[in-house]
């Protein structure tokens, strides 16, 4: 077996242009984690089921374990590392997850927040049902989702400039 030829790939990640040579079979998640040292997106299954590797590619939620890096050539990407506000404070979603206890071990969190980020662009004022359906491609083993739903509702309210009304338990 001979060594595999490397091909150039370039993309904009969290507003920064990056260029590398990679084997064509390199998965986007490995490119992000190992080439760019963006270890926020995680690997939970490598089969597109768990969503821990979710990032945003050209405005869409993408499971980066099932995309080759070369498929993202020329694309605009956002990862969890690009989610905080410009002044370094937590964004509405990040704050929502903390305030509503929407995370425990933190392993699904970067993917979950990225999915929620895109969801709120698609549906700025989602119902609970829309949130649950909207994050159903992201698995969490710790929280039972109830507080994740609240975290996203908190962020939606903050982004819409409305009061967050925690549903009665």
């Amino acid at each position: 077996m001979s060594e595999i030829e490397q091909v150039p790939v370039s993309m904009t990640v969290n507003g920064k242009k990056v260029q590398r040579f990679v084997e064509p079979r390199t998965l986007l998640i490995h490119f992000l984690r190992e080439e760019l040292n963006l270890t926020g997106p995680h690997i939970g299954c490598e089969t597109s089921h768990c969503g821990a590797c979710t990032v945003e590619v050209d405005g869409m939620s993408v499971k980066s374990c099932t995309l080759f890096a070369v498929q993202a050539n020329g694309a605009e990407l956002t990862t969890i590392e690009g989610m905080a506000n410009a002044d370094g404070t937590l964004s509405a979603l990040q704050e929502g997850f903390r305030q509503m206890h929407g995370l425990q071990c933190g392993f699904c969190t970067p993917g979950m927040i990225l999915r929620a980020h895109t969801l709120l662009k698609e549906t700025p004022n989602p119902t609970e049902e829309e949130i649950r359906m909207g994050i159903s491609g992201n698995l969490c083993r710790c929280t039972g989702y109830q507080n994740i739903v609240k975290a996203i509702q908190y962020a939606a309210a903050k982004l819409n400039g409305t009061d967050f009304q925690e549903a009665a338990e």
Partner: protein
């Protein structure tokens, strides 16, 4: 005092101590993707290890040829059992007193067993190499049914044990038998049964499943050949134990082994044990001299490292006509797979299954557990469970419902009648435990009142009648579970792991400026210890939690502890933390007395400092005292302000709870909808209600998964079914029910802050509530017991078998 002086309430609030819903410290880094998990670690020159695994469940290995693999550029080594024999590591001891192959030594005992370890420059090349390692197998007859494991002609799974009639836990009666574990009074129990008005007997199986944290098991091992020091970063729920085991196995002195558990992406029992991947990574770094990373993929995780449950429990209850229980008899057939690698305290081959008398006052009980080998993966870990307590709770809660059915009694009333009464605590159970505290009747009544239990029963009855009149195809079940857990392993008198007593520890150091670093022997995997441990310290020594840093997982700096699993952190380490903090407070009192020029007996504690009794203006805050401890300690006193505590608990703690599940089932589709799930937990003193509630939500979601579909199944060839997230049921946000939580507080009398632990209760109590709901729904059609898991197909099948499809 001027107006700026904070009130007592303000000073108390500023501490963010015990009982407050403190937001988590961990979240700052986790929400920004800045957690440091094992796979995030990158060391210079690091290479990657991965396994060649067996496609067969039972086979002889006649040849392993790595020639082609070694030709691939970037492949560094291929290790086999023969290589490991050179360092005496082809086999390793298990926590349960058995031995386990690290790499297949002449044969394999389960599908996906580790056969060879490929070391390559990166994970892609390792995978290429795995494809071309040639292994020749000679298939052997496969045994997957535990009920056939002790047939006279059953295949011999473990030739290495041939002629060994004595195992780690007593006599072996068959070549596939591991142990028999008996507890209780057999004669007394037999007498209760012979005198009973009513008896029930049922085989209640708890199927094989898997903890499946979102992060799999992984490690990075790095040997420094110059200093002879080995560093291992890994997903370890018990890092100190891993270091001790690594030292014993490798003969590297313990002080030259640095085991570090960084952030862990969920554990649920999966990350307690020592796995072949760890051993191989360590051997590979010793051989190659470069750091070696090993990361399981999901299939490997689900099919090799640590299944849970697989208990087949035959339960019998003796009772009087009025419902009073008089005897309990349980026999368990325990399927341990190819090796007995149960992660229980060493003297407990079936964990604490003898909590199976549950919340009920059984005057007599007898239990026998037989462990057997099959061609399945080893493990038997406590999946969010304190060592087989989940199985025990399921067994007794299902059996009580079956008894209620036979007696024609309401299952809630039957439970109320037989609960251990508040005045009976501390209560000696027939199977040998001393329950510390409880008030079961109050908790049960609160749950029933909150739910409107009697009204629900009336609604159910009306629905059953409508169903029988043909007006609806929907039936309704009300599942009750009143569980008693046993957690906080454990007292050194009966709990150890490989001889190390199951204490835990805390070290607290107050800096001169009054901020704190504290370290514990436990290791959070999402439980939020960095937040809650600081709350205990804050309340105990009056320093704001925000000024307290909590550090766990580094065996070089943290005091020795047995780790986090079995809901033991709060009962054991939580106590150590409180006691270490109290040592600091005692010293602070002497320093304050010196500063105020009074006797220490003239001082009283007041939230965040000491004040002179009757003269609250004369006071010294802990911040002032901390400075004095380093600046001007009393003559003759050692400077500094720090303490260590190692806590050997006098007893376990016994959290309990009342869970109710209301379910609607469509008999034609088998689809079960959880209408309401109410969970009342009593975990004693509550340190952070937000975190408790979060733990309960998560544990209930796991319970929902287990009861309603999550399973590791095998076909007759020993092929593992369900080893990917395509087949293994992990609920999404869509299926997961809405959870209602509630509580009562019955502190533990022997714990310094009265806390009992809660993490596992929802898994322990949740499963019987779901299963009882399904079973309760079908009772009126003549059903006694339907086996788990209750996925739609199986519910549909049950409905069909009961003639509900007309």
């Amino acid at each position: 005092m001027n107006d700026m002086t904070p009130t007592r309430e303000q000073r108390e609030a500023a501490l963010e101590g015990m009982g407050c819903k403190r937001k988590r410290v961990e979240d700052i880094r986790f929400t920004q993707g800045k957690g440091q998990y094992v796979d995030d670690l990158k060391l210079p020159g690091m290479v990657f290890g991965d396994f060649v695994r067996s496609p067969y469940a039972h086979a002889k290995i006649t040849k392993i040829d790595a020639t082609e693999a070694l030709k691939i550029p970037g492949v560094i080594a291929v290790l086999t059992a023969e290589d490991l024999k050179g360092v005496n590591l082809a086999w390793m001891p298990t926590l349960a007193g058995d031995v386990q192959m690290v790499l297949a030594d002449g044969k394999v005992l389960y599908q996906n067993q580790e056969v060879a370890f490929v070391v390559a420059e990166n994970r892609y090349i390792a995978d290429d190499a795995i494809q071309v390692v040639e292994v020749e197998y000679e298939e052997l007859p496969v045994l997957t049914d535990p009920f056939k494991s002790m047939d006279p002609d059953a295949p011999v799974l473990r030739p290495d044990l041939e002629g060994k009639t004595e195992g780690a836990h007593g006599p072996r009666k068959h070549h596939n038998h591991i142990f028999t574990w008996e507890v209780g009074d057999k004669d007394e129990t037999a007498k209760a049964f012979s005198e009973a008005d009513v008896t029930i007997k049922e085989l209640i199986s708890y199927h094989r499943t898997h903890p499946s944290p979102l992060e799999t098991c992984q490690c990075v091992a790095s040997m420094d050949k110059v200093t002879g020091e080995l560093s291992v970063w890994g997903t370890f729920q018990a890092p100190h134990v891993i270091r001790t085991v690594a030292s014993l196995l490798s003969t590297i002195p313990e002080h030259k082994i640095h085991v570090i558990a960084p952030d862990i992406g969920g554990g649920f029992g999966n990350k307690v044990g020592a796995y072949p991947g760890y051993i191989c990574a360590i051997v590979a770094t010793i051989v190659t001299g470069v750091p070696v990373k090993w990361v399981e993929d999901r299939m490997e995780n689900l099919s090799t490292t640590s299944f849970a449950r697989d208990y087949h429990m035959t339960a019998e209850i003796a009772a009087k006509n009025d419902g009073t229980v008089t005897g309990l008899k349980v026999h368990v057939l325990a399927d341990h797979g190819g090796f007995d690698a149960c992660a229980d305290p060493s003297k407990w081959p079936a964990g604490f299954f003898n909590i199976v008398t549950g919340s009920y006052d059984f005057p007599a009980a007898h239990l026998a557990v037989d462990g057997v080998y099959t061609n399945k993966a080893p493990g038997g870990v406590a999946y969010r469970c304190s060592f087989r307590v989940t199985e025990a709770a399921y067994c007794i809660e299902r059996a009580m419902d079956i008894l209620a059915q036979k007696l024609g009694m309401d299952p809630a009333d039957l439970r109320m009648k037989n609960f251990v009464k508040p005045e009976q605590f501390p209560y000696q159970s027939a199977l040998g435990w001393e329950y510390d505290s409880g008030d079961y009747h109050t908790a049960m009544q609160k749950a029933m009142d909150t739910l409107g239990y009697r009204e629900l029963r009336a609604e159910q009855k009306a629905k059953q009648e409508a169903f029988q009149r043909g007006e609806t195809r929907e039936i309704m079940g009300i599942g009750i579970s009143f569980f008693t857990e046993i957690v906080g392993a454990g007292p050194s008198k009966n709990c150890d792991i490989l001889g190390v007593a199951m204490f835990d520890s805390a070290e607290i150091r107050v800096h001169p400026t009054g901020s704190v670093i504290s370290r514990m022997g436990t290791k959070s995997q999402g439980q939020g210890h960095e937040t809650t441990w600081a709350q205990i310290i804050a309340t105990e020594i009056g320093i704001p939690a925000a000024d307290i840093m909590v550090e766990e997982g580094n065996t070089d700096t943290a005091p020795y502890g047995l780790g986090t699993y079995g809901s033991r952190s709060t009962p054991v380490a939580g106590a150590a933390i409180a006691l270490a903090a109290r040592k600091i407070r005692n010293k602070a009192q002497m320093i304050a007395a010196h500063m105020l020029e009074v006797s220490e007996y003239d001082l009283e504690w007041d939230i965040d400092g000491f004040q002179v009794k009757g003269n609250p203006q004369a006071r010294k805050s802990m911040k002032e005292i901390a400075w004095a401890a380093y600046h001007a300690p009393p003559p003759g006193m050692e400077p500094g302000l720090e303490a260590v505590s190692y806590y050997d608990p006098p007893n376990m703690t016994y959290p309990f709870g009342a869970y109710f599940c209301v379910m609607d089932i469509d008999v034609d589709t088998g689809v079960a909808k959880t209408r309401r799930f109410y969970a009342l937990d009593d975990c004693g003193t509550r340190i952070n209600p937000m975190i408790i509630e979060g733990q309960v939500h998560g544990g209930l979601t796991e319970a929902f998964a287990i009861a309603m579909g999550q399973e590791i199944r095998y076909d007759e060839m020993g092929n593992v079914l369900g080893a990917s997230f395509m087949d293994f049921f992990l609920p999404t946000a869509v299926e997961t029910p809405h959870w209602e939580t509630d509580y009562t507080v019955t502190p533990s009398p022997h714990h310094p802050i009265g806390a009992k632990g809660v993490g596992e209760s929802p898994n322990v109590g949740g499963v019987p509530a779901f299963s009882n709901a399904v079973n309760d729904a079908f009772q009126f059609l003549g059903s006694t017991h339907i086996q788990m898991p209750h996925d739609a197909w199986r519910i549909w099948q049950a409905a069909k078998d009961l003639g509900a499809h007309g």
